[in-house]
């Protein structure tokens, strides 16, 4: 008898609905036991990808550690919208110190727990892309090379959104930001710059590095739980669309995250000890244009006669990702 593969396609999302899964495979969010680590009532924008990602990531980390978790936060949107004094949305032990030092502060918390013989308490550091790839980069690299027992999560919305949408080293080429305006012969952010932090993290030979998006929250949860099975420095890089900074509809956050992955523009993979061990292959490949068009930060690529030359260069980036990580759909 030939085996027939069953696909659970729902609402065009290609996501597998919880109700079709066994209890063990259901999301943490589907459980009444979830922590609500980042509770309702915070002041994130409607459709905030970072709030979504942080909520799933931390609840998964809480489940993985049996609630023995401390979170350290860099300055940024996540910190500002969650803790306007005297309110806090955090239902977990949470510390914010500065913008550029979250990895080092997390190291300190982990060291204190080790000194006190409380190895059961695990530490998550978290920051946006500015706090990770730019101002916190030195501290992050130090934490990595010492193999401190910290899972560091970067919620990457590709710019300094909290300060009014400025360019970071995670901003993609051609994207309009307040410091890479869509003017002149080369509008938006330039080509040939920026850091690929997941690969830099892998070069530190830390036990676990993964990327994820808020389009596949199940995958995000699984990676957090996988990360928590390791001791030492671990890194998770989560693409979190920002309606404000990207100039996108609040309702499109998950769709844009999916298009980023499905175009290959944002590769979703995981690596252990510096070697890629798994990729989330593209299910139905789309061109980068489908990802770029709904975002006003790329509007100059499509206005008037448009800039097909620049779109083509962006497509080359996606193609290179597909090639590098083997992301092509199985039946392409």
């Amino acid at each position: 008898m030939t085996e027939t593969r069953v696909h659970f396609y729902q609402v065009g999302s290609f996501a597998v609905g919880n109700r079709l899964l066994s209890d063990a495979d259901r999301t943490v969010q589907a459980s009444r036991e979830r922590t609500n680590s980042l509770d309702a009532g915070h002041r994130a924008c409607q459709g905030c990808g970072e709030a979504l990602g942080a909520r799933y990531a931390l609840d998964a980390a809480m489940r993985a550690t049996g609630g023995r978790l401390v979170a350290v936060n860099a300055t940024g949107c996540l910190e500002v919208f969650s803790t306007p004094f005297p309110e806090t949305s955090w239902r977990i032990a949470w510390l914010h110190s500065l913008f550029g030092n979250a990895p080092a502060v997390a190291t300190g918390v982990a060291a204190a727990m080790r000194a006190k013989g409380r190895d059961d308490v695990r530490v998550v550091g978290q920051a946006g892309d500015g706090g990770t790839v730019d101002i916190g980069f030195g501290a992050l690299s130090g934490m990595f090379e010492r193999h401190d027992d910290v899972l560091f999560i970067c919620y990457d919305n590709e710019g300094y959104m909290n300060t009014g949408v400025q360019r970071s080293a995670a901003t993609p080429p051609t994207a309009r930001t307040a410091t890479s305006e869509a003017v002149g012969a080369d509008p938006g952010n330039v080509f040939g710059q920026g850091k690929d932090l997941p690969r830099i993290a892998m070069a530190h030979d830390i036990p676990y590095v993964a990327t994820a998006t808020v389009a596949d929250l199940h995958d995000l949860e699984r990676k957090v739980e996988r990360a928590m099975t390791f001791r030492g420095a671990r890194y998770l890089h989560v693409l979190v669309p920002c309606p404000l900074g990207w100039g996108a509809a609040s309702a499109d956050t998950v769709r844009l995250a999916r298009l980023a992955a499905e175009s290959g523009f944002f590769p979703v993979f995981e690596a252990e000890h510096g070697v890629v061990t798994g990729v989330r292959r593209i299910r139905r490949r789309v061109g980068v244009e489908e990802y770029l068009r709904p975002q006003r930060r790329f509007a100059h690529l499509f206005a008037g006669e448009g800039r097909p030359d620049l779109v083509a260069r962006l497509q080359l980036i996606a193609d290179a990702n597909v090639e590098r990580y083997g992301l092509a759909p199985e039946e392409e």
């Binding site: 609630g67 023995r68 978790l69 401390v70 350290v72 936060n73 910190e79 500002v80 803790t83 306007p84 004094f85 005297p86 806090t88 955090w90 239902r91 977990i92 032990a93 949470w94 510390l95 914010h96 110190s97 500065l98 550029g100 030092n101 080092a104 502060v105 997390a106 190291t107 300190g108 918390v109 982990a110 060291a111 204190a112 727990m113 080790r114 000194a115 006190k116 013989g117 308490v121 030195g138 501290a139 690299s141 130090g142 090379e145 010492r146 401190d148």
Partner: protein, 416 residues
């Protein structure tokens, strides 16, 4: 038992007896010997449990200390000069969060021009950060102050900086009586934090505070500093009762009783100044010394009391505010009693320039003659300065002035 010990070793041994649980190390002269010694003690198991972390920068050293302290551990680090400036954002943050980190500052000049030798510019740069700043006069006091520092810090939830003169103390071998472990244990109970990161009782630390509460939060921090003014003398007294040593406290007055002229200073130079005062006293001059041990919080009332009988006050300080003048002197002026003594500032010892007994006696002599200006720079080579000013006037591209001065001096002052 008195032992001949390098200052850094005495501090390291004393810090170890305070049982720190997390120690961060980033090397910078002249602090290195302290963290090297502690690192070895952790590695061979003498100091346990303790996590010794080689961090990638001073910014990380203070940041790791912040995380460790917030998680309930006794945290210690040491730095100097550029290192302190590099971590300054975290220095303010530790105080703002009310975390009782203790840090040794091996006082050193700040560049440019780069200079590794002693002065107090680094400590002055963070005087407003919200740390208690204690200045050691001797290696014995430097060691003892660390025990008191942890006690003060943890009682008040305020970080404490123990300032000791780089090289002059850190690298000098002197007789030191190391405090017994049992005495430390009786004096310094285990750290009981007011706030702690604990999954069993989760709190948010480091929330954003807007204009509706920021002033009150900052004022509370100010009140804790004022509380320190009350606590520091009683802790020093308790310490003295246990050890017989008069280390710490707010001030170290010396021969002040009938003194008409009082020199105010901080740190190791006080020994030299006391020798000078003894010499002048032998000739019948009514001179005395006021050593400032607690620079922050500044003991305004105690300084006013100590200077109540003085007609002339001379502040000798190893730092200054460019374009203004003395830093300690400004505080002394604020504290000066209503009797209004004449106040003169002598900036001295910058970048490691020696301050000799003869220098101090010269200052006292000029003061007695009424020829000591309100602001002066001890042993300033005005000819060198004038020649560089002339070069700058003569040519727009006169070049880097530090290098010009060095070249001038190397040429025996002939490079005109």
């Amino acid at each position: 038992m008195l032992q001949q010990l390098e200052g850094s070793r005495a501090v390291a041994e004393t810090v170890a007896r305070c049982r720190p649980e997390v120690v961060c190390a980033y090397p910078i002269s002249p602090q290195t010997h302290i963290i090297e010694a502690i690192g070895a003690m952790v590695k061979d198991g003498r100091l346990a449990p303790c996590e010794f972390i080689n961090v990638e920068s001073e910014y990380a050293a203070m940041s790791v200390s912040i995380g460790a302290s917030a998680a309930g551990a006794r945290a210690y680090t040491a730095t100097a000069s550029q290192g302190l400036l590099f971590m300054i954002e975290a220095v303010y943050n530790a105080a703002g969060l009310g975390l009782p980190v203790v840090m040794t500052l091996a006082n050193r000049a700040i560049g440019a021009p780069i200079n590794i030798w002693n002065d107090h510019s680094d400590a002055m740069a963070v005087r407003d950060a919200g740390w208690i700043q204690l200045f050691a006069e001797t290696n014995q006091e430097a060691a003892d102050l660390h025990v008191q520092a942890f006690r003060l810090a943890e009682t008040l939830s305020v970080p404490v900086m123990v300032c000791m003169d780089g090289f002059i103390l850190t690298h000098a071998v002197e007789a030191v009586d190391l405090i017994d472990q049992a005495v430390v244990d009786s004096f310094l109970p285990p750290y009981e934090p007011r706030q702690v990161l604990d999954p069993d009782d989760p709190v948010s630390i480091g929330a954003m505070v807007g204009p509706e509460a920021f002033e009150e939060v900052r004022y509370l921090a100010h009140l804790r500093q004022l509380d320190a003014l009350e606590l520091i003398p009683s802790v020093a007294e308790e310490f003295a009762a246990l050890t017989g040593r008069a280390s710490g406290g707010l001030l170290h007055p010396y021969r002040l009783d009938d003194a008409e002229t009082v020199i105010v200073a901080m740190g190791s130079v006080l020994g030299t100044i006391k020798d000078a005062v003894d010499a002048r006293r032998a000739t019948g001059e009514r001179v005395g010394v006021l050593g400032v041990t607690t620079f922050r919080p500044f003991p305004v009332a105690a300084v006013a009391d100590a200077l109540a009988g003085a007609r002339r006050v001379i502040v000798v300080e190893k730092a200054f505010s460019l374009g203004m003048g003395g830093v300690l002197a400004t505080d002394v002026a604020t504290a000066s009693p209503a009797s209004g003594p004449e106040l003169a500032t002598v900036v001295a010892g910058l970048g490691g320039r020696p301050i000799t007994r003869r220098d101090v006696e010269g200052v006292l002599g000029r003061s007695a003659q009424g020829t000591l200006p309100r602001l002066s720079f001890l042993n300033l080579d005005e000819d060198v300065v004038a020649r560089e000013r002339a070069r700058m006037a003569a040519s727009r591209r006169s070049g880097p002035f530090a290098e010009n001065v060095l070249r001038d001096l190397a040429a025996g002052g002939a490079n005109r």
